[in-house]
Symmetry: D3
Subunit: 140 residues, 6 copies
C-alpha cells in the first residue's frame, strides 16, 4: 500500500458567521473571523489517495488525472469565490475549515474509488499556522 498526495490551491473569501445570531454574538464567539464584510485566505489543499502501484505503470493513480479531477470538482468551484455565497456544496453550512474539508471529501471520494484506489485524507491549510485533516468516517 502506497499513499500518493497531490497539492492544489485556491484563494477565497469567507466569514465565520451564523445568520441566526446577532453581529455582536458572532463577534463575541468568532472574533475577527466574523468581520461582516468578509476576509479571505490562500488555501492549500492536499488530497491523499492510497492503493497499490499498477505493475505496468508504477503508479497508484495517474497524477495528471488526480490533478484534473481536483481542479474540475473543487478548484473551479472554490477559487476566487466566496465560500458562504458562491459554492453550491457549502450552501447552508458553516464556512469553517473543518466543514469545508469534510465537504471536499464528499465531492472527491466517489470519483477516486472508480480508479481502483481509495481516498485516504483531505488536508486543508487555511494559513501556514492553521490546518485540518479529515480521513472520512473510518477511525484511524
Amino acid at each position: 500500500m502506497i499513499y500518493v498526495t497531490r497539492k492544489e490551491h485556491f484563494n477565497a473569501a469567507h466569514k465565520v458567521w451564523r445568520a441566526d445570531w446577532s453581529e455582536e454574538k458572532n463577534t463575541e464567539v468568532f472574533g475577527k473571523c466574523a468581520n461582516k464584510n468578509w476576509h479571505g485566505h490562500n488555501y492549500d489543499l492536499y488530497v491523499t489517495v492510497k492503493g497499490n502501484p499498477n505493475p505496468e505503470t508504477g503508479f497508484v493513480i495517474d497524477l495528471k488525472y488526480l490533478s484534473k479531477l481536483i481542479k474540475s470538482e473543487i478548484i473551479e468551484v472554490l477559487d476566487h469565490r466566496n465560500l458562504n455565497l458562491d459554492v453550491p456544496f457549502m450552501a447552508g453550512k458553516m464556512a469553517s475549515t473543518e466543514i469545508l474539508a469534510i465537504e471536499i471529501w464528499k465531492q472527491l471520494a466517489p470519483h477516486i474509488v472508480t480508479h481502483g484506489c481509495n481516498l485516504h485524507s483531505i488536508k486543508l491549510y487555511e494559513t501556514e499556522n492553521n490546518f485540518v485533516e479529515y480521513f472520512g468516517e473510518k477511525i484511524i
Copy 2:
C-alpha cells in the same frame, strides 16, 4: 549602511473592480479577480529599513519597535478586513497589490524617519507566485 527587514502578515478579502464599469467589463478586464462576491488572500508583508547600526546596541532599528509599528499602523487596519470596504487609507482606490503597497509605504515612512533611519522598501506578496516591491519616489 545595513538593510533590516521585518515580515508580518494579514488575511483580507478584496476584489479588483471599478464601480464605474459594468460587471461584464470588470470580468472582461480583471477575470476571476473581479468576482462580485469577493475573494481573499493571506498577504505577506516585508518592510525593509536602512541605516547604520547604533554603536551602543548594534541595531539599525529596534525590531520590537518596528514590529509593533507595522502591527498598529497596518495589520490592525487590514487583517481580517475587506480591502475595498473597510480600510480608510484605501478608500476610493483600486485594491490591487501595487496600490496597496504604495499606500502602506505612505503610512509607514513618516514613522520610520523619526528613528534615525529610512524606509527602503515595501514588498507585498498576494500569493507565493505574485508579489510587488515599492521603493518610494526615488529611482533605484
Copy 3:
C-alpha cells in the same frame, strides 16, 4: 473525527549534555550538539487536536483558544530561554527534541480534554531537517 493543527514557534538555547559525563565523553557521544557554551534553534511546534466539529460553530476547537493555551503554557516558558537551565518542566531531563516533545504533551493534554476533544500529537521541528512526533502513550 477531524484533526485540527495549530503551529507556534519559539527560539531557545540548549546543549545535549550529561552532567555526570566528562566533556570528552559528551563530545564523543553527542558531537557538536554538546558544545559546552550552548547553541540554539528556531523551533516550530505543531499541536494537533482531534474531535468532532461542534454543529453550532463548525469548530473542533476554537483556534484562538488553542493558540492562547499553547502560548501561555509552552511558548512563554520556552521562548528566548535556555532549555537546560530556565524551564521548570525540563529540569533534570535531557534537552533532546524527543524528551521536549513528550514534556510538551504532558503540559497540554490535561487542558485540551476539558474542551470536549483530545490531544492527538505533538510535532516538534528542531531544524527543517530534523523533527519528532509524539502521540501519547497509545500505540498508533
Copy 4:
C-alpha cells in the same frame, strides 16, 4: 513511542517509460513525463524511525548516524544520477516515485532494525505538489 524524522535531498534525472512500448504509447500514457531525452527533479526524502528514547541520551536514534546512513546508502547512489540508467537497485523497474520509495525502504530497513528501533515511513517529494509515502508491508 516517538517518531523521529530526518530529511535529505538529491537531484536526479528520470523518465517514466516502458522499453516494451513505442514512443507514441509512452507519450499517450505518461504524457510529458515520458520525454525520451529525460527530465529531472530536486527530490526531498523524509525517513521516519520509531522507538523509545534511550534513557541515557534522550535519543530514539542518533540523528548523526541516521543522516550518514541515508547519505551512504541512498544519496550517494541517487544524487546527480539518472534513476533509469545509473542506479543498481532501480534496474529493470519503473522510475516512478512510488516504486522509488519502496526500493529506498528496502535499502534502509535492515540497517535501522540493528539500532534498536524500526523504520516507520519513507516520504518522497518529487515536486512540492507531488509526493508519496510508504509504511512497509504492514497495514496502517
Copy 5:
C-alpha cells in the same frame, strides 16, 4: 515605479558538460554535475517587471498576461525537457543556471516592452540553495 514579480516553475534534465573535453576533464571541472547520463532539477523562475501602475486598473502589468507569456515562451519550451538536447534557444550553449537566465531574459524582454513597462530581472533557482539573478546589460 513599482516592481511586479511572477513566479513559475519547470522540471528539466541537464548536465554541465563540454563536448570538446574528455569525460575525465568534465568530471574534474564540473564534478557530479557532469554525470554523463544527466541529472535534473525543479527550477523556480521569478520574472520581475517594472513600471508605473495604470491609473485605470491599478496594475503595472496584467499578471494573467505575464503568466501566459512566461508559460508560452519559456515553460512550454523547458518543462520536462533536456536543457542540453531539447531547447532551441540553448543550442550550443553551456547549460549552467547563469547562461539559462540570460537566455530567458532575451526571450522575454522584447515582449514586455510592448506592454508599456520593462523587464527588470530574471531570478532562477536551480535548488533552494543555488540561484542566479540577471538584470540585463545595464549596470545596477
Copy 6:
C-alpha cells in the same frame, strides 16, 4: 553581469547584551533577547557574488568552491557555537544580526576577489521574520 547566490545555514546561541550595563538595563533595552542564560536560532546565510560568466564553463564562480569557502571560513566557526563566547571574529562586538552580517562580509570578501568576481551581498536570516542585508561600504 550576473549575481550568483549560495545559501548555507548554522545553528547558534547568543544574547543581545552589554557587559557594561546591569541586567535590568539590558532587559529594558533588549527585552527577552537579553535572557542571561542565552537563547538561539537557526540562521540562514545567503552569500551573493557578482561577475561575468566564464565563457568556458558558463559559471561566474564554481558553486562547489563557494560552498566550501563559506563552510570553512564561516559555518565551521559559527555552527553549534555561542556567538558571544566562541567566535574569534565576534569577540568584543554586539551579537546582533547586523554586526554579524558585517563581520561575515569581512571574512569572505578577500577570498572572493581572488576568483575574478566580487562579493555583492550578505543576507542573514535570524528567523523567517527577521533578516538583514549588507552590501559592503559602497552605497547602493
